[in-house]
């Protein structure tokens, strides 16, 4: 067991580093996770941000960060991170930047970039063993342009490009598994509604070097169609139903950090969101609901077979 300074909820940061006044939606689950992550990472960070909702965090002359931020095209944030990392290394080598003032290079992208457009650049960065921390805020669609389907969109969800009676026909890509297959330094899933679990994982990730992924599920009032006030309940249901497993990969092993027994039926999570309403009304799509539940059950049967 590695030491953590986050033993209980009261150890969590009480004052916050990320500034208010950003253009994220009211109730944004991505911003909820990001501000918690930033509190743990601290100010010695430089963010490399691919196009997406969070592009609008820093719109000149406004920024919520206390340090630097670089904007890249959607597919190339890991390449941008490579450039920043190289520049920092050169500055350190030349003695122009004291080693103790070196910065953590953080890539910040949505799921569109992380699961889809930017996956090639990510793959290259892992090949080169780039020392960077990749944060993906996953709201399961291209949210900034009106929630079109992305490779992270779950089966059955209604999106701007999946409007049929059964919703999105594809299945959410396993980005965690893709990263793990490459044996990087660290991979973890987090959610803003589990702040203690999140803080411990970020603390761990920050101490490591090499490619690291933090995959944050980001309940999205706008794209998932729910009242912003429900954001926390939906995040908690994502964990309680087991549809979003909280886990980490370290030293060749995957460990689940929260295992709910018994799990809440996934229907409760789906029913709370407008993007799944067509599975309940006008008539109940038991076939689709069963297919979604079966995938969740099969996942846990594999990882937690005794329950």
């Amino acid at each position: 067991m590695s030491e953590t300074i986050y033993r209980r909820m009261s150890d969590l940061p009480s004052t916050h580093l990320l500034g208010g006044g950003t253009a994220m939606c009211a109730g944004c689950g991505g911003l909820q996770a990001l501000h918690q992550i930033y509190d743990v990472l601290g100010t010695k960070t430089v963010f490399v941000n691919a196009a997406g909702c969070m592009t609008l965090l820093s719109v000149y002359p406004f920024t919520p960060f206390r340090g630097s931020w670089l904007y890249t095209a959607m597919a190339s944030a890991p390449a941008g991170a490579q450039g920043v990392r190289d520049a920092l290394d050169i500055l350190c080598d030349k003695g122009r930047l004291p080693r103790d003032e070196d910065l953590q290079v953080v890539t910040l992208t949505g799921d569109g970039a992380a699961y889809g457009m930017g996956l090639s650049a990510t793959s290259g960065a892992i090949d080169r063993n780039l020392d960077f921390l990749y944060i993906c805020y996953d709201n399961e669609g291209y949210g900034n342009t009106g929630q079109q389907s992305s490779p992270a969109t779950p089966h059955g969800a209604h999106t701007a490009t999946a409007t049929g009676p059964a919703g999105h026909s594809g299945f959410k890509k396993d980005l965690f598994g893709i990263w793990v297959a490459n044996r990087p330094a660290y991979v973890a899933t987090v959610i803003g509604t589990e702040p203690l679990d999140l803080a411990r994982k970020i603390e761990k990730a920050a101490k490591l070097s090499g490619p690291r992924l933090i995959l944050a599920l980001a309940p999205c009032p706008t794209g998932w169609d729910f009242d912003p006030q429900q954001a926390a309940e939906i995040g908690r249901l994502a964990v309680r139903t087991g549809i979003f497993p909280l886990k980490e990969y370290l030293d060749g092993r995957v460990v689940h950090t929260k295992v709910k027994r018994p799990r809440t039926p996934v229907e409760e999570y789906l029913r709370a969101q407008g993007r799944f309403q067509h599975l309940f009304e006008p008539e109940r799509r038991q076939d689709v609901l069963d297919a979604i539940q079966a995938r969740v059950d099969a996942y846990w049967e594999h990882w937690d077979p005794s329950h």
């Binding site: 253009a23 009211a26 702040p195 912003p228 926390a232």
Partner: protein
């Protein structure tokens, strides 16, 4: 040309309203242009959308400085200057339609407007509590311009809400129809205005920028935390208020789960909400285990602040 501007908050359906009205105009044989403002269309943020309709090709582009009809879905937007101001460019012949529980005469006096002011009664229960009033506002607008038939309006709603479940579509058709009927007395009060002549062509006052070295043209700018100058507290329609009696001084639930990091404890440990930046999502109200945070309408909170 008819010029209509819809103002509301992200999520209320003003973009959809503009599309419904645009499609209805189109069905009546008009050339149409409808577009939402781009860039800040965020849940709760002030947004606007415009519709232009004419029998000749429309050459105007961009924002709408002189609307014939302005529809405001949320009265709390009226005092705000954001987005060029809800009331900007309203001449004497313009019509203002407010979705409000307060009557039109009171608004006319409050706002000191020379133009015609109408209200569309606020009935939240009809919107399913979600505040979607796009079809309602489009229905009222369709009647006010006077030349959009009920059939064209309904056809446009069916077209624009085709992806919605049948009962949502039905509810929106009903709402739009009621708004259409409610505006009967004022049918046709919105006037067409001629295509604005291009302002006298004036040579652009170009400023020559000489080539500069990189350190001059791309200077290092160290401006941390400047976003706090943006007052996103203006997005709020409901205000979370912490009851210090009930609060257990655990800051980590409301403080950690507030998406905007707008809650931090003061010296005594009592969490304090930064109302300059709180967007009113009310996640804190939902997660407080002691139920120590309640929400009150923003307008009521401001009135309480104003009276000592």
């Amino acid at each position: 040309m008819y010029r209509i501007r819809f103002h509301g908050r992200g999520g209320q359906g003003m973009k959809t309203a503009s599309r419904i009205l645009g499609s209805a105009f189109f069905a009546e044989g008009f050339e149409v242009q409808d577009a939402p403002s781009y860039g800040a269309e965020r849940r709760g943020a002030p947004i606007f959308a415009t519709v232009r309709a004419a029998h000749a090709p429309i050459l105007e582009r961009g924002p709408m400085p002189q609307p014939g009809l302005v529809i405001v879905a949320d009265e709390t937007l009226l005092p705000m200057a954001a987005g060029g101001g809800v009331l900007s460019g309203m001449g004497e012949r313009a019509v203002l339609l407010l979705h409000s529980a307060v009557d039109a005469n009171t608004w006319k006096q409050r706002l000191q407007l020379a133009c015609r002011v109408l209200t569309l009664p606020l009935r939240l229960e009809e919107t399913g509590g979600r505040g979607f009033v796009g079809a309602l506002c489009a229905g009222a607008a369709a009647r006010l311009v006077g030349i959009v038939s009920r059939e064209a309006l309904e056809g446009a709603i069916r077209q624009e809400l085709a992806a919605m479940p049948a009962q949502v579509l039905a509810a929106n058709l009903t709402q739009a129809g009621e708004a259409y009927d409610a505006m009967k007395k004022h049918a046709g009060c919105v006037c067409e205005a001629p295509e604005a002549p291009a302002p006298g062509a004036v040579d652009a006052n170009w400023i020559d920028l000489p080539f500069e070295a990189a350190e001059l043209s791309a200077p290092d700018i160290h401006g941390a935390l400047t976003s706090i100058q943006v007052r996103t507290g203006l997005w709020r329609t409901l205000r979370p208020v912490i009851d210090p009696e009930r609060c257990s001084r655990c800051h980590w639930l409301c403080g950690s789960l507030c998406p905007d990091a707008a809650i931090s404890p003061e010296a005594e440990g009592l969490p304090v909400i930064d109302y300059e930046h709180c967007k009113g999502c009310l996640v804190c109200v939902a997660v407080c285990p002691r139920h120590a945070i309640e929400s009150i309408p923003e307008a009521q909170a401001r009135e309480q602040e104003a009276s000592p």
